[in-house]
């Protein structure tokens, strides 16, 4: 890989602790534009915490986050969304009382240009704006094949579909960087295959850069261009999937565990 192009995301010396408990210690790595980067590591390794740092849900005590050419000490959630970072959560965080369509439309909230007064009176930019957001939401619905559940309250959907809707809400924002926290957790083989397919298509068709957390090593090896391995809050591997898999520390700390 030539390193002439600046990475889209670059973390350096990130440390995060909760009341003295270290979740992430001195971690740094780069994510190139357009790649799929997998974060792997055993339970409690600090993977989710790191995603939360990237999009500002947690503010690290140390380190620097550089995204799209701009360096920050820490992110704020709103700032991250405006900068083009979208995500899904390990435990589904959908808006339970709302329909599939409305959940996906909330992903467009930053694109909405009309004021609330225009929306109340349905005048000015409000009508065209609502149609424009709806058109994007429909594209997402078609892409994820959610047409049949458009008006279903998300709380009534099975788990696998809820995960898909959450991906849809993130995609609706047309993000530059998509963070996926265990998008395939708890899914059966068929659902996993489908979800991998969606993720690959998002990456290839829209050119979206993706950072994902996944425990299934098979999926990780197949899907990702780049793997970062964490263990006890530290980085113990970083590189191409095949190379990372061969590292003795990684085999000992993580891959080894999968075998017995």
């Amino acid at each position: 890989m030539s390193e002439t192009v600046a990475p889209l995301l670059s973390l350096s010396h990130i440390s995060l602790s909760f009341k003295g408990v270290k979740a992430v210690t001195d971690i740094g790595f780069d994510v190139a534009e357009g790649e799929i980067c997998a974060l792997i590591g055993p339970n409690g390794a600090g993977k989710s915490s790191l995603l939360n740092v990237i999009n500002g849900v947690y503010q690290p005590q140390q380190g620097e986050i550089r995204f799209a050419g701009r360096a920050r000490r820490a992110m704020q959630p709103h700032e991250a969304a405006v900068a083009g970072i979208a995500r899904t959560f390990q435990n589904i965080a959908l808006f339970k009382g709302m329909s599939v369509l409305d959940n996906i439309l909330t992903g467009r909230n930053l694109a909405s240009r009309s004021s609330w007064l225009e929306q109340a009176f349905r005048v000015g930019r409000a009508v065209a704006d609502e149609e424009a957001q709806r058109a994007v939401a429909e594209e997402v619905i078609a892409f994820l094949r959610l047409q049949a559940w458009r008006h279903t309250p998300v709380g009534q959907l099975p788990y696998g579909l809820q995960k898909r809707v959450e991906l849809g809400r993130a995609l609706a924002a047309r993000p530059r960087l998509l963070l996926l926290d265990e998008p395939m957790a708890g899914m059966n083989r068929e659902e996993k295959r489908e979800m991998s397919q969606f993720i690959r298509e998002v990456n290839q068709v829209f050119g979206t850069t993706i950072v994902l957390i996944e425990h299934d090593i098979g999926v990780v090896m197949e899907l990702s261009d780049h793997v970062v391995v964490l263990d006890y809050g530290r980085k113990i591997g970083d590189g191409e999937p095949a190379a990372v898999r061969a590292l003795p520390e990684v085999i000992a700390a993580y891959l080894g565990q999968q075998r017995h």
Partner: protein, 355 residues
């Protein structure tokens, strides 16, 4: 059979996004409007207007105000009556201070003052949630009541705090008769319902529900939490403020703080619990229930229980029935009458088939 979707497909997003998608729904609405504006004013008697229709409309509007805040944006409040009081007194004071101010404009201005007060009491919602927020809105309730009774300036020096509302003149027409007061109330309430129905189905409405359902996820997708919550307080209080003005001007005919005490706040809360949180139609259903129940009970007890029940006990009986119903609804149908209505409609769509 008659209430069917058959063949009515939305071919444009705009159609699909309509509040009333089926022609049957729209026809029913037009029929209701014709009835409300064209027929009722001529066939109704004074009792209907003053004791049933006007309080029903005003309480529906108050329910709408609280429903936007609690049912849609998820912020609990027991301060509804306080915001109603602010609206009523502000409208009155503005009419007094600016002679010649059109009546409808003074209602709007009263709403705007209530909105400002609502935002101030909404500020704690940025830090506290649920039960604690409820307590802080309770503080608003007591504070406003105290302020309005303590300082005679608000009631123009009237010892009792009770003042007579000014005549109801709109564009030179006197709406002082019972039918006139009903028409005036209807003409203020319905447009506000239309605006609110538009709002909850637009971007701001979705942001409210997102904040209600999961505020961390809402923040992560870029919804400005602070602005969204404060707008909910402002718009909710505006509507409550207008409802307060109507309560004083077109229903009671007097402006007085005691009409806006804590039990009024509870009444508005019961309307949205019974009618349905997060439903526009539910406000009408809940208000109808609250207004009609005492009347039905007194008729029933007059005919069935006459002699059995001492007259003074009727009010207690009402309270007991109310309490039981509220509990039943919370357990059995937390989504309120609006949900029951939807269920009935879903069956009507298929009738005479069963599935």
């Amino acid at each position: 059979m008659f209430y069917q979707e058959s063949g009515q497909f939305s071919t444009r997003y705009r159609q699909d996004g309509r509040a009333l998608r089926l022609w049957q729904q729209r026809a029913a609405l037009w029929a209701l409007l014709a009835l409300a504006f064209g027929l009722l004013p001529f066939i109704g008697n004074d009792y209907w207007f003053s004791a049933i229709l006007i309080p029903f409309l005003v309480l529906s509007l108050a329910g709408l105000g609280l429903n936007l805040l609690t049912g849609y944006a998820g912020q609990l409040s027991l301060g509804s009556a306080a915001f109603m009081a602010v609206g009523a007194f502000a409208s009155y004071k503005l009419q007094f201070l600016l002679p010649g101010l059109p009546l409808l404009l003074s209602f709007v201005a009263g709403g705007v003052v209530a909105a400002a007060v609502g935002v101030v009491f909404g500020l704690p919602s940025l830090r506290i949630k649920g039960f604690y927020l409820l307590v802080s809105t309770l503080a608003a309730q007591f504070f406003v009541e105290w302020l309005l009774t303590k300082f005679a300036w608000f009631s123009n020096g009237n010892e009792s705090g009770v003042i007579t509302a000014p005549p109801l003149l709109v564009a030179g027409h006197d709406f002082g008769s019972p039918a006139g007061r009903y028409l005036l109330t209807l003409s203020v309430v319905l447009p506000l319902f239309v605006l609110a129905a538009n709002l909850v189905r637009s971007s701001l409405g979705r942001n409210w529900m997102a904040v209600r359902d999961m505020d961390t996820a809402a923040a992560v997708i870029g919804i400005p939490i602070l602005r969204t919550k404060l707008l909910a307080f402002a718009i909710s209080s505006f509507i409550l403020g207008v409802a307060g003005s109507l309560w004083a001007f077109t229903y009671l005919g007097t402006v007085e703080p005691h009409g806006f005490d804590l039990s009024r706040s509870f009444q508005v809360l019961f309307i949205i619990i019974l009618g349905g949180m997060g439903s526009i139609l539910g406000n009408f259903l809940g208000a109808a229930f609250i207004v009609l129940l005492p009347i039905v009970l007194s008729i029933l007890s007059g005919s069935l229980l006459s002699g059995v029940l001492p007259a003074g006990q009727l009010e207690n009986l009402q309270k007991i029935i109310f309490g039981v119903l509220i509990i039943l609804f919370l357990i059995k149908e937390p989504d309120g009458l609006a949900r029951l209505w939807q269920g009935w409609r879903a069956r009507a769509r298929l009738w005479p088939l069963r599935f």
